[in-house]
Amino acid sequence: MIRRLRRRHRTIIVGLCLLVPPAYALSLATRHPEALTTRLPLALSDPAAPPWQVLAVRQVLVGKIVLSTRLLADSASPRHLVLELAPVTDPREPDPLVYWSPDPAPSQGGLPAGAFLLGSLAGTRIRSFALPADAVGREGRVVLYSLGHQRLIGEFALATTSLLGTGP
C-alpha cells in the first residue's frame, strides 16, 4: 500500500527532474535580447561620448499628437543617427510604440511590413531612439502604433538622404 505510493512518488520526482529543469533552462536561454532603446540613453548621457550634431529640427502632427522632433548624428560617426521625440501634447494612447518603416509610401491602416520597433512613447518626456543602419541615407517613415488599441495612430516621413548627402 504505502510502498506503492513511495514507488509512485519516486517515479513522479524522476520524471519531473527530467522535464522541469531542462524546460526552465530552455526558457532562460531563449529570452530575446533587450530592446535597443535601453542602450541609447546611456550613449547620449555618457559625458565621454562624442558631441551630437543636430541635423534637423521640426514639429509634426501625428494623428492628434503634436511632436517636437530632432534628428541627431554622432559627430565622430555621422552614420549613427538618433531620433529625439518630445510630445508637446499628451499622446493619450495606451502603450504607443514608435516604429521606423523603410517604405516611404503612407501606410494602409495597419503596421507596415518590415517596420522596425524603435521603442515606447508613453508619457510626455523626451525620448531618444537609435535609428537602424538601414535608415541612413534613405527615405522612410516613422510610425506610431497603439499596442492597446491595436491600430495605427499616425506617421510622418523621415528622409535622411539630403541631410547626409549620400545614399547608403
Binding site: M1, L5, H9, V20, Y24, L26, L28
Partner: protein
C-alpha cells in the same frame, strides 16, 4: 489527536507555528515591496504587491517541498513537519491573492471578461516570448485549491490515507507548473541574473533533496533475507533495537516496526493510521508508540490507541530465540493483541 470532532485541534505548538508563519509571510511581503521600491523607483504599489505575493508563494512552496525529505534525512527537522498543512494553506492563500490581484490589475479594465482575458490573452505558443504562462499558473492554482480544500483530517479519514496521499502528490506537478509559470512569465522581462539564479537554486534544492531521500527510502524497502523458522522470519538481533525505540524492516511487501521496551519486544505495522507516518521512527512515550509526525499513539502489544481514541494498526506475531527477533510476516487484523516476546527467552 482527538477523540471527538473539532474543526482544528489547536494546541500551543500549533498556535506558535501559525503565528511564526503569519509573521514571516507579512515580513517577507513588506521587505519585498520596500526593496522593490528601492531598486525600481518607477514600480507601482500594485505591481510590487503582485510580485511579492507570487514570489512569497513560490518561496513557501519550495520550503514545504524541502521539509519532507529533510525530515527523512535528519529528524531534527520534524517540528517543521508537524503543522505543514497550515503552511500549505497559507501558500495557497498567497498564490490565490497573487492571481486575483494580477487579473484585476492587468485584465479588468477591458471589454472582455477578466478571466477570459487572462486565460486567452497570449495564446500564440511559438515563440516562447508569448507562451501563455498564465495557464500554467492557473493549472497550479487548481491543484493547490484541491489540496487546500481537502487538507482537513475529515477528508483524510473520508478519502482514506492512501487516496488522500495520492491526491496530494499532485503538489509536485503544481510546483513544476509554477516554476515554468515564473520562467516563461516574470523572468522573461526581469533580467537581473539573481532572480533566475534564486529560482534555479530552489529547483535544485527541491529535486536534489527529493532524489537523495527517495534513494535512501528505496534501500529501506528491501525485503529482509534472514533465516526462517515455522513461518517466522528473522529480522534482527535484540541488541540492534535501542530501548524504547524500534528497528524497521521490510516484510511481506510492507515495512514493520519492532519495538523494544521493558524487557519485551512487540511488532506493529510501520504505517500510522492517521497520515501513514513512519511509526518506527517514533519512540515509546508513556507506554505508547508515538508517531513522529503528529503524535498519534498506539499500545505496542495491541496496535490500538489508548481509550477513548479509536485508531488501530495491524500487529505481527513475534518471537525471540537466542537473542534474535523472528516475525510472522502475516499481519493480524488492526488492533489485535499479541503477547510481547520477552528478550530473555
Amino acid at each position: 489527536m482527538s477523540a471527538f470532532y473539532r474543526a482544528v485541534g489547536w494546541s500551543r505548538q500549533k498556535l506558535i507555528y501559525d503565528g511564526l508563519v503569519v509573521a514571516g509571510v507579512a515580513l517577507y511581503v513588506v521587505l519585498f515591496v520596500g526593496t522593490s521600491f528601492g531598486l525600481q523607483p518607477d514600480i507601482t504599489i500594485e505591481t510590487a504587491l503582485i510580485r511579492g505575493l507570487g514570489s512569497g508563494a513560490l518561496v513557501l512552496l519550495t520550503l514545504i517541498l524541502c521539509i519532507g525529505p529533510l525530515c527523512r534525512l535528519d529528524p531534527r527537522f520534524l517540528p517543521l513537519l508537524y503543522n505543514r498543512r497550515h503552511l500549505g494553506v497559507t501558500m495557497f492563500t498567497l498564490g490565490l491573492a497573487h492571481a486575483v490581484f494580477s487579473v484585476i490589475q492587468f485584465h479588468a479594465a477591458g471589454d472582455l471578461n477578466p478571466l477570459v482575458s487572462a486565460l486567452t490573452g497570449t495564446w500564440s505558443v511559438p515563440p516562447l516570448d508569448r507562451f501563455p504562462f498564465e495557464l500554467l499558473g492557473f493549472g497550479a492554482l487548481l491543484i493547490l485549491f484541491l489540496m487546500a480544500a481537502t487538507s482537513h483530517d475529515y477528508w483524510l479519514a473520508t478519502l482514506t490515507p492512501p487516496i488522500w496521499k495520492a491526491l496530494h502528490q499532485l503538489v509536485y506537478f503544481a510546483y513544476g507548473l509554477i516554476v515554468l509559470h515564473v520562467a516563461l512569465g516574470a523572468l522573461r522581462e526581469e533580467r537581473q541574473p539573481g532572480l533566475a539564479l534564486l529560482a534555479g537554486l530552489g529547483l535544485v534544492a527541491v529535486f536534489g533533496l527529493q532524489l537523495v531521500s527517495g534513494l535512501r527510502e528505496r534501500a529501506g524497502d528491501r525485503e529482509v533475507g534472514g533465516s526462517r523458522s515455522d513461518g517466522f522470519i528473522e529480522v534482527c538481533g535484540v541488541e540492534e533495537i535501542p530501548e524504547l525505540r524500534a528497528k524497521m524492516a521490510c516484510v511481506g511487501g510492507e515495512r514493520i516496526a519492532v519495538f523494544r521496551y521493558d524487557g519485551k519486544v512487540s511488532c506493529v505495522s510501520n504505517v500510522c493510521a492517521h497520515q501513514n507516518g513512519p511509526l518506527g521512527e517514533g519512540r515509546i512515550v508513556d507506554g505508547c508508540i508515538t508517531c513522529p509526525w503528529h503524535g498519534y499513539q498506539y499500545l505496542p502489544d495491541r496496535g490500538s490507541s489508548p481509550p477513548p481514541f479509536t485508531e488501530k494498526v495491524p500487529t505481527f506475531n513475534v518471537r525471540v530465540r537466542a537473542g534474535r527477533v523472528y516475525i510472522d510476516p502475516h499481519p493480524n487484523p488492526p488492533g489485535t493483541r499479541v503477547e510481547p516476546a520477552s528478550i530473555h527467552d
